[in-house]
Structures are given as structure tokens and as C-alpha cells.
Symmetry: C2
Subunit: 353 residues, 2 copies
């Protein structure tokens, strides 16, 4: 047996998850000598991703949503876990190959059953594209951004797009795609370091720090003629301001409402007041998840374009890496608090170790 630390989900949080109570790190051990599961394989894992959607799955099973509630007493499910294959009992997955596992436990070692082989992707990195890009821009984050922006946002050269949580994983992908396609890109962020980052590193046209400036003033200042596309990762007050500033026939891509995720059961939720703009301005406001057929159908185009943009240097894949399983809980809370620049990744182990 070797050490196998896992990021454990102990109880359903009411509001912010409490370290040590709702979330812990525990060593459950791993038997290196055991054979792989029949038809499956075993891995030593290198990276796991953090994603706001994980908080949504930490709920009571009775609350319906598009993805299942996580099981209390099991490791936290990550959207992506990237690992090296140790042993395999399936011809589809070769020993020594690098694999990307979807909706997988956050752990150092995995014994992957046959049933999970179909949701496992063997990675053959393209030249100039780093391995971690397959957790973000070349993974579900990039797919989310590319598919929804095109399917719902219907971007046209010259359109004005406002992106909330612009320094977050999806936000920076959306902003960079929009910039590449000739849109005027405005980002909303929660601190000055991020503001500097999206403008000077990612090439956004402009942006504002919603904690420092009145949101309505900022949007009117940066988009005096209104917004064609609002890419919404947050909900709340910014959504309300966006509604008030949309152009006729504007599109709202409803990707997330992170501002509401940690409203405890007793909190008062924010009420959106300007929803009558949907009628007056003939807006289209639409939600999605990345697995919807209308979104995933953009995959081939995404794979080609984004890989090329990364390889030719015009597109930055910025990661915020938490190092080591011992820091799994704090990395997760940092992602939820919006402290991280770019895609949040937990580095489970070095590829060499």
C-alpha cells in the first residue's frame, strides 16, 4: 500500500464550505500490487481541475439540477483529472499513456472501472500546446466558452461584449476568443490585479473593478452605445445592470450565477429588477451546459482554432496552480472566492515522481 490522499466531501455545506467539517483531505491508501479493474485501468494522477460547478453539486440529493449531487463520504468529483496510466485491462487505454478522466474523484491514485472508460480521453498533445491546456482551453472550459459564445452569443465582428468574472477560467477564454474574432471586449473583475491582467495580458479592450466603481456608471462609461452580448458568469447586480444596457436584439449567455452559489438557505437572494428589458429590447437570454448537443457540436472547430491560437502565441492559457493534495481544500475555497487568476488547477503530483 502507498499513500493515496483524497480531497474528501464530508457533508453538505450551508453557505460557504467549512474546512475540516464539510471538506477534508484523507489518506485512503492504494494497493499498487493489485491488478487493474476488469476492463478498466489504474492511474497515478497529475492534475485535477477546480470549477465553480463543483459547489453546485455539493447539495442535498433532493435538489434537482443538471448534474447529480455529489455523494457525501466520497471524494470530491473534479470535472477533469489528468493522469498517467499504470496498468490497463482494456486495449483502448495503453499503459504509460496520458489520460483525461471526466467527472472523476480528486485523488492521488485511481482504480478506474470499465464503465468509466468511455468518458476517458487519451491525450496526444499537439505541438506547442502544454499538457495543462487540456484541463482548460482545450478541455471543457474552452469548450464551454467557445460553444456557448457561438451558439447563443452569435458574435459578429464589431459587436460589444461584456464578460463577467473576466479573469476566471471561462471568462478569460470567452474574452480572448471574442478578441480574436474582432469584437470589442469589456471585462468585469473584482480586483485591480485582475483588471491589469485582462487588459495587458489577455488583450481585452477595457474593463472595470466592480468593487471600486459603481457598476452602472462603469458599464455606461465603457459601453456608451450599449451591449450586444453579455456573457454572464455571476448573476446578481451586474446582470441587472447589463439588462439595462443591452442593445435591441442583444444576447445574454447564461453560463453561471456564482454570486448566488453560496447564498445559505436563510439568505435573501438578489432579485433581478430589469427583466422587462427582455420584452422591450427583444433579448434572447439562454442557458446551457457544455454537454448539450448544440454546444458540443462546436468541438471540432474549437479544437482546431484554439490549438492554433495557443501554438502561435496569440492565446494565453493562464493557470492558477495549487500545489499538492494537502492544500486541496484551500485551493477550492480560493477558486470559489474568485481569488485565482485563470483556470484553477490542483497539482496532484509531478509527472516525474
Amino acid at each position: 500500500m502507498v499513500q493515496n490522499k483524497v480531497f474528501m466531501y464530508k457533508s453538505v455545506p450551508d453557505g460557504w464550505p467549512v474546512p475540516g467539517k464539510d471538506l477534508t483531505v484523507e489518506d485512503i491508501g492504494f494497493d499498487e500490487a493489485a491488478p487493474p479493474p476488469k476492463g478498466g485501468f489504474t492511474t497515478k494522477n497529475l492534475y485535477a481541475t477546480y470549477d465553480p460547478s463543483q459547489r453546485g453539486r455539493m447539495r442535498h440529493e433532493t435538489v434537482k439540477s443538471y448534474s447529480p449531487a455529489m455523494a457525501v463520504g466520497k471524494p470530491v468529483v473534479s470535472v477533469h483529472v489528468l493522469g498517467k496510466v499504470l496498468k490497463s485491462d482494456t486495449p483502448k487505454i495503453k499503459e504509460g499513456s496520458t489520460v483525461l478522466m471526466m467527472s472523476h474523484y480528486t485523488e492521488e491514485y485511481s482504480a478506474v472501472p470499465e464503465s468509466a472508460v468511455k468518458s476517458t480521453q487519451v491525450i496526444e498533445p499537439k505541438p506547442g500546446v502544454p499538457l495543462t491546456a487540456y484541463l482548460g482551453l482545450m478541455g471543457m472550459t474552452g469548450m464551454t466558452a467557445y460553444g456557448s459564445l457561438h451558439e447563443i452569443g452569435q458574435p459578429k465582428r464589431g459587436d460589444v461584449i461584456l464578460v463577467s468574472a473576466a479573469a476566471g477560467a471561462v471568462g478569460q477564454a470567452v474574452g480572448q476568443i471574442a478578441r480574436q474574432e474582432g469584437l470589442h471586449v469589456i471585462g468585469s473583475v473584482g480586483d485591480d490585479k485582475k483588471l491589469d491582467f485582462i487588459i495587458n495580458e489577455l488583450g481585452f479592450s477595457s474593463g472595470f473593478n466592480y468593487k471600486k466603481e459603481n457598476i452602472s456608471d462603469a458599464v455606461k462609461r465603457l459601453a456608451p452605445d450599449g451591449i450586444d452580448i453579455y456573457y454572464d458568469n455571476v448573476g446578481g447586480e451586474l446582470l441587472d445592470v447589463a439588462l439595462a444596457n443591452m442593445k435591441d436584439f442583444g444576447r445574454i449567455v447564461a453560463c453561471g450565477t456564482i454570486s448566488t452559489y453560496n447564498d445559505g438557505s436563510n439568505s435573501t437572494r438578489y432579485g433581478v429588477q430589469n427583466y422587462s428589458a427582455v420584452v422591450r429590447k427583444r433579448l434572447r437570454w439562454q442557458g446551457f451546459i457544455v454537454y448539450d448537443p448544440t454546444i458540443i457540436r462546436w468541438k471540432k472547430e474549437r479544437d482546431e482554432k484554439v490549438a492554433q491560437w495557443i501554438a502561435d502565441g496569440s492565446f494565453k492559457s493562464v493557470d492558477y496552480v495549487t500545489h499538492g493534495m494537502d492544500h486541496a481544500v484551500e485551493g477550492f475555497l480560493g477558486m470559489l472566492k474568485g481569488e485565482n487568476l485563470g483556470k484553477s488547477i490542483l497539482k496532484v503530483a509531478d509527472s516525474e515522481s
Copy 2:
């Protein structure tokens, strides 16, 4: 000169329009002996329509919306005025014909300029279709209902649709179209008389009186498996409840928010709390106006189907008629208060007189 009473717009209401102050009836006279305007025509008017959208146009000119603000000191603009042509100076409009004028002053006699000829429709009633149907189901109300239900609502046989303001002009048209097409139709109304009407006269599957029953309880009771289409004429709390009860991939047709129209400038507006359902359930929530190309392209199909449904008796065109210009203000306020069953019409004069 003969008497020509008009429904006059005197000042911008703050909240509910005040009779005698914001809205009046005045005799401005009409010269029967005068020739028609060059390239235009004159009419003696028979009917004018009341529509919630009129309230939206009674606003300060600085407030942007899809239709222009009404001009203070001029007659109230009705969506439709139906008249008989007295004199004509254009070959397109024959003397003695019946015409439907769009966005036209509410008055007993009209001198219509050449510029308005293109928005004037000569009516040749189909067999079995009464003249007043051209103000409602065969006019813009029916076009609104038919076009938006199909374009945004995407109805499929067996779908569950919830219609708010179900006894109103658009609501009863939507409900009857949906019933004809095999949907399960639930209506929300504000009194028991209307509830009886939509179920027993219009053939809705079920309904509830939102003033008597908790809205959330009623929707869960009548649509235990959720709603595929919410046809929203009201906004506010019912919209919030609908959001909470939509099925995945549900559609919200945003037709109106009458619950907010008379919020005065000092009132607190209702805030919609359940908007995160747009993300979680991948909803499509979209506004429109009837003149949008995507809506008006359903006209030919509407003209044929609805005329046939009226003629064969399967479709009721229910009108609430206010008799005479002297009652123009009270008829308008009654429509805004939701007191009227069906399409609200002002009878300006008998066709014989």
C-alpha cells in the same frame, strides 16, 4: 363641422393614469365638407382597440423603448382603428371600403395623410369571420400570439404550457392556439369569472385564480411534472414561480410585464429571484415584438389557420366592448386593471350611423 370626439392624452401619468388630468375626452370638430388630404383619405371610425402597450407609450420621450412615446396634447394612439372610408384621394383606398389603420389616433373622424396609406389595410372579411376579429385574432393580437408561440415557444403536441393573463386578448389567443395544437394548457387569471371562462368557454385544460391561491402551490398542483412553455404577459411573482417550475430546455415567451407597467417612479420594483434556473435548466427566455421579421413571417399561416378555426366555431373571438367615445377613459383603465374578458375594444360608432 360635425362633432369629433377624441380620446386625448394630456400628460405623462406617474403610476395609474388619472382621468380628467392625464386622459380626457374632447370634441375637436371635423369638417365633413373638406376634401381628403392629398394622396390620403378621410374616415368615419367604427372601432378602436385598447392594448396594454398603449400604457408603455405614455412615457417621457427620453425613455427609450421599441415604440415611440405618445405626444402629449394629441389623441391617444390605438394599435388599430377600424373605419369606413368617406372620401379618398388615392386609388389604393376606395370610398365606402372598410379599412384597418395601424397606430392611429382614437377619434370619431380621421383625415389620413398620404404617409399613412402604407400602414392601412383594406379589409375583405372572410366568410364566417366577424369584422371585429380583424381587431384581434385576425389582427395584431392574433399575430402576436401565433407568431411568438411558434417562433419562441416551439410548441410540440403534449407540451405543458402556462399562460398568464389567460383571459386577456393575447392570453386567450395563445391558449386556444395551444389547445388546437394538442398542448396541455394551464391559465392564470385574477378572478373566478375569468377562470370559469377560460376553462368552460375557451377549453383550457385547467387554471387558477392567483388572487385566491398561493401561486407556487397552484402551479405545482396543475403542472406536477413541470412546464415546457411559459407564456409571460405579466412578469413579477408568477414569472418567478414559473422559473422555479420550468422543465429542462423550457422556453419563456416574454410578451409583456403588465404587472410592472404602472409602477410609479417611486415604487419598488419586483425582483426576480429564480433567474439562476436559466442556467441550471438551460432555458431560453426571449422577447419580441410583433413586427420583428421572425414573428411576422408566421402571418400567412396565421391568416389561414385562425380564420378557419373562427369560421368552423372551434375558436372564440371574445371581445369586451366599451360603447361610445364618452366612455373611452374608463374603458382604457378597465383594460389596464385586467377587468375585461378578452380583447378590449372601444366602439366609436355604429356602422349604420
